[in-house]
């Protein structure tokens, strides 16, 4: 039958950018198709910025930002967002920290007030700090310590690949470091990193640009100006020899393995980086992808395999240094060495023989669906545009990504696959402590 054509689709969200007198950058992306609005503030500080001896501090501080602010008591932020029909959260990443609300659009001004109020200053008290240290410890217990494969591989692989504290340390934090945090530490962290010059405010959804601009000025304009800190380079030399480590997870019933290779700087070499984003999908997206077909369906050497860019799986929200990761769960008695050899064979085959007819186009088509599906959610648009502005000064890139991914060529994919050599690889293996 005739093959239907699918021209690469793109979005056309309008994007307005401005910078307030105090240095706060603002992105406004109106879309009136649903009566909801997203508001996000992104600060250019994350796990990599933590001082030595303060593992987990960026995330702990994120929790403290919800504990009251200049004009609001503890619990008020949550109550005002939810009492306006909205949801909220925050998250800490390697390179940024975000805070957001999604609300019915009649509550836009409330969200702006709430974010401006804590930009003026959180209420840093001993009581709040102790309470949130306890909450963060429970978060670490529920997500890492009390789960099989807790922290694998986003916490367990960076120490194998990297050597410096910013890149290698435990971003969730040791209980010792968390418990020893002080209110003075928090005040210093706020003063240094939570400057409006270090921040982006993003609003997407159902609003009028002129009205929103006036509201932003009204609420953020008087926040005292503070400049962004100098952001150091966190770069390290690439690996020249393979690194492997293993650890026993007492709760894991089956083996697992994750491998990572450095990729080009996503900011300064975006054109060189994009082929790796596509390559990860060629290798692992769905039953028709190379590694799933070979390892899951044919060899049965893994029960699942995934591939992605960035240790937290966010290809367009990460700075250098970063990596392409492959992650696999193995059946009982699974052989990690054999698995890695099979991966090498498939990478070699791809580099030398290229892709099958239609393989690249169909992978790119599926990637476009994922992108469009994500951007359909007002929260996703709000956050992504904020981070693109923060890291690149280019929030409108969100509209262009489908086309840019579609322009990656087979030659670029082959060249990228050829760089994924064992001597540039870091691997961490989970030994199942609860094997039956």
């Amino acid at each position: 039958m005739a093959r239907r054509s699918n021209k690469i689709a793109a979005t056309r969200y309008p994007v307005e950018r401005l910078t307030l007198a105090n240095g706060l950058r603002v992105v406004l992306a109106p879309d009136r198709s649903a009566p909801v609005v997203g508001v996000a503030v992104v600060y250019d500080v994350g796990i990599r910025s933590e001082p030595e001896g303060r593992t987990g501090f960026a995330h702990l501080f994120e929790h403290l930002m919800f504990q009251g602010s200049a004009n609001l008591e503890k619990l008020a932020h949550f109550r005002h967002v939810q009492g306006s029909g909205g949801t909220f959260n925050g998250s800490t990443h390697l390179d940024y920290t975000d805070y957001f609300e999604v609300l019915p659009s009649n509550a836009l001004e409330r969200a702006l007030f709430l974010e401006a109020d804590r930009m003026r200053g959180p209420r840093l008290t001993e009581e709040n700090l102790r309470n949130q240290v306890d909450v963060v410890k429970e978060e670490i217990r529920v997500n890492v310590l009390n789960q099989p494969y807790g922290g694998f591989p986003w916490l367990t692989l960076p120490p194998v690949m990297f050597d410096t504290f910013p890149n290698a340390h435990d971003g969730y934090g040791s209980f010792t470091d968390l418990e020893s945090a002080t209110v003075a530490d928090a005040a210093d962290f706020f003063e240094r990193y939570y400057a409006n010059g270090n921040a982006v405010l993003s609003v997407a959804g159902d609003f009028d640009v002129a009205e929103a601009t006036a509201l932003v000025e009204r609420h953020f304009g008087s926040v005292p100006a503070r400049p962004a800190p100098v952001r150091p380079s966190f770069d390290e030399p690439d690996l020249t020899a393979e690194r492997r480590q293993s650890y026993t997870d007492r709760l894991a019933p089956l083996p697992a393995v994750a491998a990572a290779w450095r990729v080009p700087d996503p900011i300064t070499d975006f054109a060189g980086y994009l082929p790796y984003v596509v390559l990860a999908e060629v290798l692992t997206d769905g039953d028709a992808s190379r590694l799933v077909e070979r390892l899951v369906l044919k060899d049965r050497s893994v029960t699942s395999v995934g591939g992605y860019l960035g240790f937290m799986g966010e290809p367009f929200e990460v700075r250098d240094p970063t990596a392409l990761l492959l992650q696999a769960h193995l059946p009982p008695g699974g052989d990690t060495d054999k698995l890695l050899r099979s991966v090498d064979e498939e990478l070699d085959r791809l580099a030398q023989d290229g892709l099958a007819a239609g393989e690249l186009a169909r992978t790119q088509a599926r990637m476009v669906t994922h992108l469009l599906r994500d951007t359909d959610a007002v929260l996703s648009r709000t956050l992504r545009m904020a981070v693109l502005e923060q890291q690149r000064g280019e929030p409108g890139l969100l509209n262009q990504l489908p086309v840019l991914l579609g322009e990656v060529t087979e030659e670029q994919i082959r060249a990228a696959a050829a760089t994924l050599r064992p001597e540039r690889r870091a691997t961490v293996e989970v030994i199942p402590g609860a094997a039956r």
Binding site: R4, S5, N6, D31, S33, A34, P35, V36, N71, L75, F78, R79, Q82, G85, G86, T87, L103, P104, S105, N106, L108, E109, R110, A116, N131, D134, V135, V136, K137, E138, E139, R141, V142, N143, L145, Q147, P148, D206, R218, A252, P253, L254, D285, G286, D287, A288, R300, S304, H329, E359, R362, T363, A365, R366, V368, T369, L372, R373, D376, A377
Partner: protein
């Protein structure tokens, strides 16, 4: 001479109080069309053109299917047809930016997928191929059987899974809902012929609902679905009672059940309370009462055991609707050393909501959260598809949103308090705690009679 007068510089006035809300936006329902085809398949098509994609959800009643066979059927439905291998199906779908996956729960088999809107016809063709010609090839079944066994073993290492399994057995006893999660041995015993038989018997259009949401014209999408899926064979007549799930038993409160997980650093607290279906007159009031108790971050219980005490990270209390009955589950994972205190605070907050009316501001805050959540939930294609499919499972359509909104807006303090007293009373709870029994039994026994779960 006098100094020159200095013109004042305009500085934005500092805002120190919470701004009011703008005018409430109307809940707008999207354009929708529906038809039931001659073979019994109902098709619902909903237009939301925000992005050029389409979401596809096919829900097939699957009550009383053997849990292990149902799980394996879901695992292997896409493993090959008379004319295509699993790799070929996946590649063809990818060509139109698409993917499909199958999942099963105690009441239904659901095929879910999405893709570029221009690929809707092709996605439906492939869906039709799978529905009418799935082969369950022996090699692929063997592969997927081993994978499913491994995935179950991993799940059985996770405290949330163990706690849920224990709670389900405790709540449902001999009812089919007690065994929602198959055991590895049951899966290992499955053969392809059993899957083909199950498919032939249960994968049928009667009672099934196909939901399409996207940048589509609803009437045209329904025509397309009819052309492609209208030929999905009816199958033989089946009495309506054959696979009907019996009503769930009433909850039987009793001793708190401790499930031992030696050396666990957290205890998983799980409580089940009675609840009512979406269409029950008490549903809106119960939703509000649950929100005030523990159903959202600004609830009493979350503010207590997380933001005041620091015992836990993500407690939640939620109503779960199954075809044969609804229940409310209260869940928190707390540090082992504070298991007793966390249970104390939980019983206290349930006791308080069931004994004393909430404050007016608590009611209004919960009401606004509930109303807002409805709006946020339908603001994406995927959200609409999920909700329309869920509603269809209860015989409802999207217009239920308007009715539900109106009920939430109108529910009174008396109704909320009556619902709290009826459904949230701690005396009616069934409780399971998974944790290190050696450390948690004594603190829990100080609060309520306990029993140890049999391994």
């Amino acid at each position: 001479m006098s100094p020159a007068k200095v013109k004042p510089v305009k500085v934005p006035e500092l805002v120190t109080t919470l701004p009011g809300l703008g005018p409430t936006t109307k809940l707008q329902l999207p354009k929708e069309a529906e038809a039931t085809l001659p073979n019994g398949l109902t098709v619902i098509a909903i237009r939301r053109p925000s992005v050029p994609l389409v979401e596809v959800r096919l829900r097939i009643p699957f009550g009383r299917a053997h849990p292990a066979r149902a799980a394996m059927l879901a695992q292997t439905l896409l493993s090959g047809t008379d004319t295509m291998s699993s790799v070929e199906i996946a590649a063809e779908l990818q060509t139109v930016g698409g993917a499909l996956s199958a999942g099963v729960d105690p009441d239904r088999l659901i095929l879910a997928g999405n893709g570029l809107v221009g690929g809707l016809e092709r996605i439906l063709e492939l869906l039709g191929e799978v529905l009418t010609a799935a082969r369950y090839p022996a090699e692929e079944v063997a592969t997927e059987r081993a994978r499913l066994v491994d995935h179950i073993q991993v799940a059985q290492s996770q405290p949330q899974h163990i706690a849920r399994t224990a709670l389900l057995k405790r709540i449902y006893g001999r009812h089919p809902y007690a065994n929602q999660l198959p055991e590895p041995e049951q899966v290992r015993a499955i053969r392809p012929a059993q899957l083909r038989a199950l498919h032939s018997e249960r994968v049928r259009p009667a009672g099934a609902t196909l939901v399409l949401v996207g940048d589509i014209q609803p009437a045209k999408a329904i025509d397309t679905a009819e052309q492609i899926l209208g030929g999905w064979a009816i199958g033989g007549d089946v009495p309506a009672t054959k696979w009907a799930v019996p009503p769930v038993p009433a909850l039987a409160p009793g001793a708190l059940m401790v499930v031992d997980r030696p050396d666990s650093v957290q205890s998983s607290l799980r409580m089940a309370l009675p609840a009512v279906p979406r269409t029950h007159p008490d549903h809106a009031a119960l939703m509000i009462a649950n929100l005030i108790f523990g159903g959202y971050f600004s609830s009493r219980w979350v503010e207590n055991i997380r933001e005041d005490k620091g015992y836990t990270y993500g407690p939640h209390s939620a109503i779960e609707h199954l075809v044969a009955g609804s229940s409310l589950t209260v869940a928190a994972d707390v540090a082992t050393e504070v298991t007793g205190p966390a249970m104390l605070e939980t019983l206290y907050e349930l006791g308080r909501i069931a004994s004393l009316p909430p404050a007016e501001d608590e009611l209004e805050q919960a009401r606004q959260y509930a109303l807002g959540s409805l709006r946020l939930g339908v603001a994406t294609q995927a959200g609409l598809a999920g909700l329309a499919t869920t509603y269809a499972g209860s015989g409802l359509r999207l217009n239920h949103l308007a009715e539900h909104s109106a009920r939430l807006a109108a529910v009174t303090m008396d109704e909320v308090f009556a619902a709290a007293t009826t459904y949230l009373a701690p005396a009616r709870a069934v409780t399971v705690v998974l944790g290190d029994a050696a450390r948690i039994e004594a603190p829990l026994a100080a609060l309520t009679p306990i029993e140890k779960a049999q391994p």
